[in-house]
Symmetry: D3
Subunit: 337 residues, 6 copies
């Protein structure tokens, strides 16, 4: 099977141990995470040839980040070097009624100062048949948005399947443009769109009709109509009682049928960050492996994301066999000896 | 706004990591905590000018304790020095059916040997309009009880509003007097009384009529009748399935109306210690900020205490904005980016 | 009261901190655990004179293991030394839908190479009136199975009460024999049999009739019929939503009545390993203390095991008084000061 | 005694535990440090009224930094808020032949974007008689250099004693100016100049004559001649075998005599960062306390800095009494009980 | 061989990790230590039947302490229970010029309130031939001093060999008597006296003649003359450059010859506490094993104490074989595989 | 440049934190280490294309090990899978007079049961020009020795340069053969031999003449004479005061000249394990990079190994630039900012 290329910013995530607040932390755990490299790590662990493309400075923090991705088998040959700094985000883990909190320190990163032309997309895409990006990159800076457009254009021209996770981040988008001015054009080049109602409203002004799952179906149907190239549109479904427990499922529309998956009750969340990326990665894994069975792909994505809630850090360190065991109903939590 | 003075003993709390029992611990986390300084820390973080008055020895353990309170912005100018030792309490964290366990090692502390006259209450109360104490201080020793009476008398004379958290601790009260002999006189000088049914029965022999919330209303009504100076009487309401989960709410009676608050389901308790203090602090903050809106004050206290369950240690390290966000219904636990 | 002897393999359990997966661990916590020594530790902590018999090599890892058992008051005089290595098992803690996972590294251990005749059972059983073994030992190796048979024969001859926990481990039994060829003879010498439906089906081909608790009763009744020496047969009852929460109870059949116990909802599991051993130990404690009250014994076993879920490691570090407090209904999780 | 004001950038220092390299770190310890706030912390601990002036953003990382300085008693009333980020520096601890390594991530910090006029120096200096800055601030950015000049001018005008630590950092000075273009004017306003041969050569082109301590004397003499306002010029003397051991002393020239101090052999360095700041703080403490005894001041500075080598972090957490005990010859390392 | 009984107070030692000062600690490591139980642990590890006698309260902290001593094989049958609290001492680890610092919190401990008659010395000494105490016990309180005298009298009467480590602690002796009033009588009952010049001067007014080792010889000679029952008198010899490095040796006088041992250069001290106890234990081990070879005993004590400097905590966790290897010259520090 | 292949066993090294002894450890740090993979990691970090060949089981512990090597850029394509277990070694860190101690638990590992024919050496050596093995592999088992011989034969036939580190481990060699029966034949196929006097005496009966460095020269000369294929023979030179400090240098003989290097005084050893491998790797790097300058290669090896002493774990995580900086004389330990 050919390569899949993901593109985006990966950061040092620095997190106080346990449930400490920033005000009481005396140390920070180092996590390496970014929406797009999280997807690449998942795919590499599931056995696919996944490569991540980005821009990083020449310093020890960038090396630290690269070591972690290499460890999990992600290709790094087209990461370009330059710029000033690695992006950082500080995250404290919430519990019950207290949500987790992110303090971004990613401005002026090497990805934020990436310019179109810096990455040789023809070279990066050689031997690849799929390209994945997310809505975070165009939110970082004008030039990153342009580099993203460049990548999508080349991918379209070279015939790669293109996927995106819309991933709206309101705290970004500070460079003077609104998402509505940027995202429609980029999304138009995609074959798979993963997004939530909030993303779709902010980016495209799409307002779902009805309530609950009906609204989700309406949102997906409108989204697919709006972007005719998209073969599949999908979303996660979350019931959100609080920061420690969560029901997780998903929905996919391919123009023919609404694929559904079980809703898994995640009763004790270990780390919620990266669960959306785990869903997207599982979905992509399924659609690439069995393109004619989107139902299986959706279920694989939902089960993969369910397991991610139990794993510290951004990356979904599970195997294909573990995801399939959950899909087969093994959720009793017995000790596997 | 003027200062608020709290008075009481603060201890080193030494706690095994995670859910270890004492028998298996090889290290202990240092927490600084005491009912009254916990209240002062909350108020300082909410933006009030809060000062804590106590007695500590001249050693490095006392310095360690003071550093922690200074860090959170609590005034310390009237802490007197002398005596032999800092009180200690060892606490192991329970889970599910196993309750947390405290081993007190606070006898002979500098607060236990505090004598009336050691603290210059006129000086301490200068510039203050509120005085807060709790039922723990009169439980420690005869002389501490007398110093507490002295403080209340001066506060009453100087016109400060006086609040108390009744906080019955059966394991204290070893100096030969029963709570019933001491507490009624001290409580009589208070404008705000926070207490639970157990406290009120032990201290004042008050037996509520009815069951459930009706009993709580009966208890508060009798309490206010018994202490006519009290403008507000309040209690927390807890539904207590086990050591890891808990429903939390409160009730306040001002002689006119029973103010109620939502009951928040705390599904994953991080640290239960200090939640009562967080309630009292939130309530005081509300009553001082908006004396004519006890309903808001009660809700603020309940929401503050709910959040405290998610924070390690005795202190409620939340901001006013975070409490208000929960009051406004934001309990979904989404990551705040 | 006379001694109780337990016999089996105890290992180093090496566990990543918190919920880390093996792939992300940089350290491992050292736990000392084995089904039979876990029982001995429980009994020693409840005040009985408990001794553990096994075989260990002469090296620092064996010393480390022995130090831990000595610490908790278990007699070690008949542990024989020899062989190559201490058995190890690696365990990662699951959460929610992700079960805990064990990687065994116990082959070639000193217990696996134990030969009949190496342990002087007459000497070990002198002063004892009870012998406990489990189905793990015969699963390790042919020679360990033979040593186990030897022990049971001597125990029977010397008039000790013999108990077993069937403890089927499918990943063991690699030496060429099936459990069905080995276990019936060993079990026939037992006065107390603790086992689950899965054990009983694999070992003895017993298939329960009916569903739910009816099936459990059927299983116990058939088990007792099959092994007429057995005075008591018992099983745990678990409702298993996932790796973090669990309902726990048990059932005992003495040929006269089915003893039942409350089902305790363990909502936040800290460590599930050793809960079965805690049940067996509590049951043995009860049956030895009050042989005519199997109902109390069962309840004591269930309550002890319920508490074990809240304690890190394999050992049930609770006191008799704590178990009795839970039996008396104290499960509110209030801080005990 | 009046206040002393220090001014400069304080950062989060993030350090792998022990001697880990960045490449192997999975966590980072949080240290709060900056040359000028380190001086303020020392002075506050020695009992002086020390205040730190700087600029920080409005976020949780800035709060974390402020909590740490408040904890140690440093005044913070004139810290202004604004800008984007807190500066960070990553530091790994070397040993023996491997030096410690810093990766700066301080560009675009709130101090780097500080503009003249943002700080109300008249207000900050009210009640103060001493102002301390260092050569790091003018190295950060053009605007920070201008704000520094502004501060010195106001201090000179208001009659404060001004001290500087020249602190050359070659990795800074990226905004287009050379130190030689900026530092002479700023240094001219100082009454106390602390610097090393390297600083003085880079800033002022001063080349010492002779070798060893003779060269140091020559350097100080030239420095004082060049800056006639300076009443005292001083330098540390280090013999630098490697990252773990070090001889430490200092030299001071007041135009009359060369004051010398013992050379302390620091045989086991715990943390070298902040030792120069500890020297400067000790020297300032001495000169403010006993202006007519520069010999005592120098010795106090040298002894304080010697002790700093044994303390983790940037801050010199020692008392005046501990420094004086070392000055009196107590260096045997006996346990003080 | 018969039992050896040691008698004294053992405490929780609470120590910040690494070289942290109390002011920066957020956790404390739990060490169990006391001069006399340290001796018992050493002797048990060397293979002797050692028992420790003391008084402890009935709480979880006392249990924690007992678990640690039991773990290392020390007999505990005559520990009596009662009183209020376990003694605590806080210790921060120094480095280089900064000495380690102890904050005692041992007043009012169960040992401090021990009364003569509480311990049944006849029962404790049955089966024993050696009794060891130290100068710390008479320093704690009047009643502890009396209990100590009682023990020595019974030991003398029952014919046990009696040893003492003089161990002067100036911070104790607060109950109104001077060491000179108490120690001579107690020391008169001893067969082996271990002490330093400082102890001997404070207790007995003995002033050595000469310098260096000559003074040590003079001190020992006078000490033996003063206490004619003493068969052996011994002292450690330390060269004390600083808190991290140390030369260690010892000297013994039996009335016939001055036995000497090599001086071991301890270049990197891990934990200095308990090194004196390790010397005394090694010496006792040697004198009990080979009473006619005090030279070997001294060397064994010195080598054991040398190794103790490399071991965290109070206890000397080395084997006889390891001590003998050092005595045989194996100090190269090669990895033993 | 072509690939270099190293072959051997890599283990989990499990190490108590700091200087804890096994008896007191409650956790173990996971280090991945093996003489030959340590060499591969060094070479990969210096920029060479290094691949490691071995045999590992199919389990999570093997995955953990592979992740660590992949992280540092080592090729793993020819690692074969099979067998039962990953080898383990437990190591406690000594200090001063107490040497570090290893407890091996490597018997029955997948490498110990490796058979000739399992590895396709022609495939592994394709594209490679250098093969490295060590004397540990033939010590593990008869079949591993045979697989090693097989590898050397193929390497010789395919024209690769072959290097070995003799690495005598007396605790291995348990399968019935003496090193003298096995090692001569294997060593005969080598172009570079690194060994110490002890190895050479045990393997080949070579007895050096003279003392000190003269003996080392004699040893190397005899070694080269004995194995005429060897172009270079080299040894490390260590002066070994104790476990915490060490002088380090090396010596190389190419038949023409004795190349020497400076002796670096490592005053504070962080981790001594892997320093010999770091020397060998540095030497190989030098000889491959500049084959005509063995003097530079030796110095590079010595400087690399010197730095390794400062790095926790088995791997030498330094860059070529850092080694060259030390060679250029930069050993002052100044903070590099």
């Amino acid at each position: 099977m050919k390569k899949i290329i993901s593109f985006g910013e990966t950061m040092l995530r620095l997190t106080p141990p346990g449930n400490q607040r920033f005000a009481q932390a005396t140390s920070l755990e180092i996590i390496i995470g970014g929406a797009e490299s999280n997807v690449a790590v998942s795919l590499a662990r599931f056995g696919m040839d996944a490569e991540w493309v980005s821009r990083l400075p020449e310093n020890d923090m960038a090396e630290r980040l690269l070591l972690e991705l290499r460890k999990h088998g992600v290709g790094l040959r087209h990461v370009v070097r330059g710029g000033e700094r690695v992006g950082i985000y500080f995250l404290e883990n919430g519990a019950s009624q207290r949500g987790s909190k992110v303090v971004y320190d990613r401005a002026h990163s090497s990805m934020a100062t990436l310019q179109p032309g810096m990455i040789d997309w023809e070279a990066a895409f050689a031997g690849a048949d799929w390209f994945h990006w997310s809505g975070i990159t165009p939110a970082i800076s004008q030039s990153a948005a342009e580099a993203c457009r460049e990548a999508i254009e080349v991918a379209n021209r070279m015939g790669l399947t293109v996927s995106t996770d819309l991933n709206h981040r309101a705290a970004l988008w500070k460079y003077g443009k609104q998402p509505k001015e940027v995202m429609p054009e980029l999304t138009a080049g995609c074959d798979l769109i993963v997004g939530a109602a909030e993303d779709v409203r902010n980016y495209f002004g799409i307002v779902p009709e009805g309530d609950g799952e009906e609204a989700q179906r309406s949102m997906l149907a409108q989204l697919k109509n709006r972007f005719p190239r998209a073969k599949w549109v999908a979303t996660t479904l979350r019931s959100n009682p609080n920061a420690s427990q969560n029901g997780f499922s998903g929905l996919l529309w391919d123009g023919q049928q609404f694929c559904e998956a079980p809703s898994y009750p995640v009763t004790h969340i270990v780390d919620r960050v990266g669960t959306g990326d785990a869903f997207t990665a599982g979905l992509i894994f399924g659609l690439r492996s069995y393109p004619s069975d989107p139902q299986w792909a959706l279920h694989f994505g939902v089960a993969a994301a369910t397991l991610k809630h139990s794993i510290p850090g951004d990356m979904n360190l599970v195997s294909k066999a573990e995801v399939e065991a959950l899909m087969a109903g093994n959720a009793t939590g017995r000790v596997s000896r």
